[in-house]
């Protein structure tokens, strides 16, 4: 049933593309002297582009377990690979625009970026706790370095320091949970673990494991109360990296969360598109509570923020909360909703960050006050940002609304009304702080009227990000189908 190592290689092309790019970057870094050269950026663009292409064309088929059961190659994995790669692609553009990174040697930066991407690839397809742990670390460690990339800056270093300690602790707790699972089942295959857990009766250690693993994953998706690192890291890290953290690792985190819990602690009811708990450990309720907590805390705290990056950090916490709603429902429709939401979230969130980059390039700051009068200083960027923010709020006709609808719909379908109501109130609250930025941009007069230049590339990227945000709000059938397909193959 497991493909051997050699036979698996042909399902591994995207990873190869990324790895090759990393190596090339190393070489490039050695040969080229000027730090300002954009060569490395272009190279990594190429590599990621290739990865997307390869991932896209690779036939997922019914899904198969590759590398002796270390990883899975199925629609679910492919979906996340494409998604994360897309995010990386945009982030690379962003990084090439950002002045934060200017004057530093670029190559390492892209190496870290791509290794993170590789980690996310593996994370979204890992089916063995060893593999899982490794890829999680492969996502984390370069992330620490990305966060601390602005060496001269206290904020950046502080962020990195907090990130590394917090991340190390979290993953430590997580693998402690792994060890318990291993002890209970004697296997490192999650499918295997799931099967033998279903047989066994040991509730307490199972719960313990569930919680401890939740710590690790929760830290990745920044779910309350494991979120504390994210605002600081998001604020301190260079903006493109922040943008990257807010979507890439989060998405991968959701991938592994879903795959792990739905395989280990639940079993699919064939045909119904539903899962059932294999043990008395009622983790869905647990995560439902986390979800409500996460979105509420995220939104409430975001209201008080003045730094846009930090505000977006909290908003991304809140959005993680929304997506968790889909996770607790044990239904393929719920997962479908998550996937759909991730797609729209990718565009609107990256778009928002992109504008932040453009603005902070000019104003050297990321406070809301720096956005005052943007509507007249850089109308185009301002309008784009407004679109993204309202999409994040979830107002028609923007894609964010559709994403929310799918989540709400499934929650209501499963009859978890309290959660739906909490989420509804939250999205009203969220309007308040998103609107604060919009207000600063349009309703208030600029302090200095100098126009902010929007480079052609940035402009193009903004259009490319805004277009889906609008279109998916009006016609989203294809994406919905893709999401549905990607879910259908998950259970293998």
């Amino acid at each position: 049933m497991f493909l051997g190592n050699l036979a698996s290689l042909r399902y591994f092309l995207p990873e190869f593309a990324v790895t090759a790019t990393i190596l090339l970057l190393v070489v490039l870094h050695v040969v080229t002297k000027s730090p300002k050269s954009t060569a490395s950026g272009l190279l990594s663009l190429l590599g990621v582009g290739a990865a997307i292409f390869l991932a896209g064309v690779a036939p997922a088929g019914a899904g198969r377990s590759i590398f002796e059961g270390m990883a899975a190659h199925d629609g679910f994995a492919v979906f996340f690979k494409v998604l994360t790669a897309l995010a990386t692609l945009v982030v690379i553009f962003m990084s090439m625009d950002s002045k934060d990174l200017g004057g530093r040697s670029q190559a390492e930066y892209y190496i870290f970026l791509l290794s993170t991407l590789l980690g996310m690839f593996l994370l979204s397809s890992a089916t063995d706790i060893v593999m899982l742990y490794l890829s999680l670390e492969l996502v984390s460690i370069p992330s620490y370095l990305l966060a601390g990339y602005l060496k001269g800056q206290e904020h950046s270093t502080e962020a990195a320091m907090k990130y590394v300690v917090f991340g190390a602790t979290a993953s430590g707790v997580m693998i402690y949970g792994f060890s318990i699972l291993f002890g209970l089942t004697g296997s490192t295959q999650i499918a295997e673990i799931g099967r033998s857990l279903a047989a066994g009766k040991a509730t307490l250690p199972m719960l313990l494991a569930a919680v401890m693993v939740a710590v690790g994953f929760g830290y990745k998706i920044a779910a309350v109360p494991f979120h504390m690192w994210s605002p600081d890291v998001y604020e301190g890290a260079p903006t493109p990296a922040t943008a990257f953290f807010s979507i890439g690792p989060k998405a991968a985190g959701f991938a592994v969360l879903v795959r792990f819990y739905y395989t280990v602690f639940a079993a699919a009811d064939p045909g119904t598109g539903l899962w059932r708990l294999t043990s008395s450990v009622d983790w869905p309720f647990l995560f439902a509570a986390l979800s409500a907590l996460t979105m509420t805390v995220g939104n409430l705290v975001a209201i008080k923020q003045d730094n846009v990056k930090r505000l977006l950090a909290y908003s991304s916490i809140a959005h993680a909360g929304y997506m968790l709603m889909g996770f607790v429902l044990l239904s393929s429709a719920g997962i479908e909703a998550i996937l759909f939401y991730l797609v729209v979230y990718l565009f609107m969130n990256l778009g928002a960050f992109y504008v932040v980059v453009v603005v902070s390039n000019a104003t050297r700051g990321e406070d809301i006050s720096d956005f005052t009068g943007l509507g007249s200083r850089a109308p185009f960027a301002a309008v784009a940002l407004a679109i993204f923010l309202f999409a994040l709020t979830g107002i028609p006709p923007f894609s964010g609304f559709i994403g929310k609808v799918y989540l709400f719909a499934e929650v209501i379908h499963r009859g978890v009304y309290w959660l739906a109501v909490v989420a509804a109130l939250n999205s009203v609250v969220s309007l308040y702080y998103y609107a604060r930025i919009v207000r600063a941009m349009f309703l208030q007069e600029p302090t200095d009227a100098s126009t902010i230049p929007v480079p052609a590339v940035s402009g193009a990227m903004l259009v490319l990000l805004a277009a889906p945000t609008l279109i998916l709000g009006v016609y989203w059938e294809p994406v919905a189908r893709i999401a549905a397909d990607s879910v259908r193959m998950l259970a293998f």
Binding site: E68, M70, S105, I111, F112, L138, G152, L208
Partner: protein, 177 residues
């Protein structure tokens, strides 16, 4: 098993845990590092008792030989010799302690209360098996680890390199304030 091995086990266990506790509470950071060393050594001893010869060796090499040294260096580099105070008073003890105690209770209760399908442990060298597994079944993780190490290496190098971007970074700081 019984007899001397039993005593060795208790000794190792005592060393491990005792040293760990010292790490947690010793005010002087250097002493803490030394205590950590002993704790690791104790762990290695446990590995041997558990017939994990390869692991014991790795433990000694990497931890004792590598990480501890790293830590020492870090301690020295990160404390100016000028100010002699290397002592590191801790804080925020009680809540932390409370949590840890409860946690300990929970974990150990879970450990003892759970009926594991315990078999008689047999003593055989594991190195060969490990190597074989790493080349076959766990090949992918093995390779991934290499990439990871590469990234870590570059990262460490980058960070510890005196940065060319310091001036403009400083100016950037100015711009921020």
């Amino acid at each position: 098993m019984s007899g001397p091995a039993e005593y060795i086990f208790y000794a190792a266990a005592a060393m491990t845990v005792g040293a760990a506790i010292l790490v947690a509470i010793l005010p002087n950071i250097l002493y803490a590092a030394v205590a950590l060393l002993f704790s690791f050594a104790g762990v290695a001893g446990l590995y041997i008792l558990l017939s994990a010869d390869f692991l014991a060796a790795t433990q000694i090499l990497i931890y004792v030989g590598g990480i501890i040294v790293l830590l020492m260096f870090a301690v020295f580099l990160s404390n100016r010799i000028s100010d002699a105070k290397i002592t590191n008073p801790t804080h925020f003890r009680l809540p932390a302690a409370a949590i840890c105690l409860v946690l300990f209770g929970v974990l150990s209760y879970a450990a003892v209360s759970t009926p594991y399908a315990v078999k008689k442990g047999v003593y055989l060298p594991t190195t060969a098996d490990i190597g074989e597994l790493l080349m076959t079944r766990y090949l992918l993780p093995f390779e991934v680890a290499s990439v990871l190490l590469l990234a870590a290496l570059i990262g460490a190098a980058l960070l510890s390199r005196p940065d060319r971007a310091a001036p403009d970074a400083g100016e950037m700081e100015e711009g921020k304030r």
